[in-house]
Every structure is written in structure tokens, then in C-alpha cells.
């Protein structure tokens, strides 16, 4: 009797809440970058080293959850001095990662609205954005832009020639998720 109940509970649990389908971002095809602006010029940096994962519904056709993590030291703007300066203001030794995890994903027609927690410079803030989600043959392609205020995350804006950079930076992402081979 005891064994039967245990077995029944295990099966019921698995039936009610089946193991989620997760897809990881293909590192060769996924990037996260930023664009920032100073009175003198605009520049951008990119990291090819993105760790991201999505959780799909049972049918595998809609995204239910997403989590992304990247090391701030991996963002390369093709200017080592500038990247080094960025790591100083981001206090990369204390806060080495920028992370996002969704709390709600809703779909209305073709558009998708994602709400979640962005952890940047050790501060967590809830953000909402509308990425472009495309279901491809055996995976998903997700891309979009998220405007981020540096001061909202207590980041001291870098300055050059005693002029500070603009507060708003644009985080751009292109993530491709496929089943692992």
C-alpha cells in the first residue's frame, strides 16, 4: 500500500508538472552588446560569450521563462583603455556579472512582452521590454534593445575631457536557442 502511494504520488507529480523543456543559447550565434554616447563620439561593445537559457511550454512552442548571464569583463569595444575604464566604473571585481531573469512573459498577437529582474552593478531592478521572438525550424531567435540608465544602477558615468558620457545606454541582444547536440 505504502509503495503504491509513493509511486502514485511521484507519477502524479510528474504528470501535473512535467520537466520543462530548456534550450541554451548557441554561443557562436548569440551576442549581447551595448551602445553608449559621449559628446565627442558614440561607441559600442559586444560580448560573444553569452550564457542564456529559455524554458518552453510543454508543447515547445512558446517561451515561458528566460535567464541570461554575461561577464562584464567580456564586453569588447576594440579599445582596451576604454574597456578598462568601463570595468572601473562598473566595479567589475565586486560585481562581475550582468544578469537577467524573467518573471513574466506575455504574448499578444505577434508581440511579446517580457518583464523580469535585471541585475547590473549589484543592483536589481524590474524592467519590461518587447523583444522580437521568432520561432525557427528547431529553435528560437530572440532579439531586441533595452535602454538602461547608468545612474539608476548607481554606475558613476565615465568621463573624458571632464565631460560625462550620456546616462542612457542601449543594451542590444541577439540570442539563438537550439537543442544541444
Amino acid at each position: 500500500m505504502k509503495t503504491l502511494l509513493l509511486l502514485a504520488s511521484l507519477l502524479t507529480g510528474l504528470w501535473i508538472n512535467p520537466a520543462p523543456i530548456t534550450l541554451k543559447a548557441n554561443k557562436e550565434k548569440s551576442t549581447i552588446g551595448y551602445t553608449a554616447n559621449h559628446s565627442l563620439h558614440e561607441w559600442s561593445g559586444e560580448t560573444p560569450s553569452v550564457n542564456a537559457v529559455i524554458v518552453l511550454n510543454e508543447g515547445g512552442n512558446t517561451i515561458q521563462k528566460v535567464a541570461v548571464s554575461a561577464n562584464v569583463a567580456d564586453f569588447d569595444s576594440q579599445n582596451s583603455s576604454r574597456d578598462s575604464h568601463a570595468l572601473e566604473v562598473l566595479e567589475a571585481l565586486k560585481y562581475p556579472k550582468v544578469q537577467f531573469s524573467s518573471t513574466a512573459i506575455s504574448r499578444q498577437g505577434e508581440s511579446t512582452k517580457v518583464t523580469g529582474n535585471l541585475i547590473f552593478h549589484g543592483i536589481t531592478k524590474t524592467i519590461t521590454f518587447e523583444p522580437k521572438v521568432e520561432k525557427v525550424k528547431n529553435g528560437f531567435v530572440v532579439e531586441g534593445v533595452i535602454p538602461v540608465s547608468l545612474e539608476a544602477f548607481n554606475v558613476e558615468r565615465p568621463s573624458f575631457m571632464l565631460i560625462k558620457t550620456d546616462d542612457l545606454i542601449q543594451i542590444k541582444f541577439h540570442l539563438e536557442f537550439y537543442p544541444e547536440k
Binding site: 500500500m1 505504502k2 502511494l5 509513493l6 502514485a8 504520488s9 511521484l10 502524479t12 507529480g13 510528474l14 501535473i16 508538472n17 520537466a19 520543462p20 530548456t22 559621449h38 565627442l40 563620439h41 561607441w43 560569450s49 550564457n51 542564456a52 537559457v53 524554458v55 521563462k65 535567464a67 541570461v68 548571464s69 561577464n71 569583463a73 567580456d74 569588447d76 576594440q78 579599445n79 582596451s80 583603455s81 576604454r82 574597456d83 578598462s84 575604464h85 570595468l87 572601473e88 566595479e91 567589475a92 571585481l93 565586486k94 562581475p96 556579472k97 544578469q99 531573469s101 565615465p158 568621463s159 573624458f160 575631457m161 571632464l162 558620457t165
Partner: protein, 207 residues
């Protein structure tokens, strides 16, 4: 029977919770795959910085500033202060060089009464120039030092810095002999080279 039902409920809840946690721990699973943490020192460090701040630098081996994360955080703040001072002194020195160019040219054209002013300006420019250089050369090293293909602003700044440093030393060495017209010409050429390279190094720098 009641006992079994309680056990059933507990077990059912645990199974569901375990699956739910699996979803919530997505970030943790990503972190376990993340790349190695940021290194305290970059692989490539300028010689003048390595002497003091390198892994086996003087400040490390004497125990004055051990290589620890908390010390590196402080060092990076010191570095930024030194580099901002380097920038400010750079602009002031450039202004001094422009003034010196005007005075030097008039002195070269025969206005001998300007010699005192020229020497005073030379002293001020030298103090600004070499202090500014020291602030950059001996600052704590950055967190990263990537090798980038092709020419960029920081590479151009460093190439021009080696030109203006050489020209500044030559200008100073030739200053003592500048009363001889043969050396005056070379002194002037060295000074203009220093000024041109210095102005170029200031202009090419971008954040």
C-alpha cells in the same frame, strides 16, 4: 490511512517544489557554466607599472600593497584619479607649449628681452609635462589589457607619446646650447616636434 495521505501530500509537494526550483535556478545553472572570474592583474602590464604594481612588483614584495581583491579595488580608484590628473595636466601643458611656441619664435627672431620669460615658461612646461607623464607611467595597472588589431586611439596616443617624450628630452638637452644659432635651429625643431606630437596625442584620445 490518514498517515499515508499526509505522507502522500508531503511527497507530492516536494516533487512539485523540486521541479519549480529547477526553473527558478536557471541563473544558478548559467553561473556554474560562466567563464573564469576577472583576473586581478592583466597579462600585459607596462614595464613602469610592473616594477611597482606587478605580481612581483616592489609594492607587492615589500608587503606595502599585497595583491588582493580589496587592494585592487582601491588601486583602480587611485589609477582613475591619476589618469584624470594626467588629462588635466596635459591640457595645461598644451596651453603652456602654445605660449612657449609664440615666445620662443619671437626670441628666435631677435627679441632677446624675452629670454627670461622663455626660460620660466620652459620650467613650467617641463614640470607639467613630466609630472603628467609620471602620473600615467606609474599608475596602478588596469584590470584588462587587450591586444587590438589595427590602429586605435590609445595605440596612436602611445606612439605619439614616445615621439613627444623623445623630442622633449632633446629640446631640454639642446636648450643649454640654443644661443649658438646652429643648435637654436635644432632646438626649435625638437620643440615643434614635441608640441606637434603632444597636440596630436591629446586630440586622438577618446574615451
Amino acid at each position: 490511512m490518514k498517515k499515508y495521505l499526509i505522507m502522500y501530500s508531503i511527497f507530492f509537494a516536494l516533487v512539485n517544489q523540486a521541479i519549480a526550483q529547477d526553473v527558478d535556478s536557471l541563473l544558478l545553472s548559467l553561473d556554474s557554466e560562466a567563464e573564469a572570474p576577472t583576473q586581478l592583474l592583466p597579462e600585459r602590464i607596462m614595464l613602469t607599472q610592473r616594477i611597482f604594481w606587478g605580481e612581483k612588483g616592489l609594492l607587492r614584495t615589500t608587503g606595502i600593497v599585497p595583491l588582493t581583491e580589496s587592494n585592487r579595488i582601491k588601486e583602480l580608484k587611485i589609477r582613475r584619479t591619476m589618469l584624470v590628473a594626467h588629462q588635466v595636466l596635459g591640457y595645461a601643458t598644451l596651453a603652456g607649449m602654445i605660449a612657449q611656441g609664440v615666445v620662443g619664435q619671437r626670441l628666435y627672431s631677435g627679441e632677446g628681452q624675452l629670454k627670461g620669460l622663455h626660460e620660466s615658461l620652459a620650467g613650467a612646461v617641463n614640470v607639467g609635462y613630466f609630472t603628467g607623464a609620471a602620473l600615467s607611467l606609474f599608475s596602478p595597472p588596469p584590470l584588462i589589457s587587450r591586444q587590438v588589431k589595427g590602429l586605435n586611439s590609445i595605440k596612436a596616443h602611445k606612439i605619439l607619446a614616445s615621439v613627444h617624450m623623445t623630442a622633449m628630452i632633446a629640446t631640454n638637452l639642446l636648450a643649454g646650447k640654443a644661443e649658438d644659432p646652429r643648435y637654436a635651429k635644432i632646438h626649435r625643431a625638437a620643440a615643434f616636434t614635441a608640441f606637434g606630437a603632444f597636440a596630436g596625442a591629446t586630440i586622438v584620445m577618446k574615451f
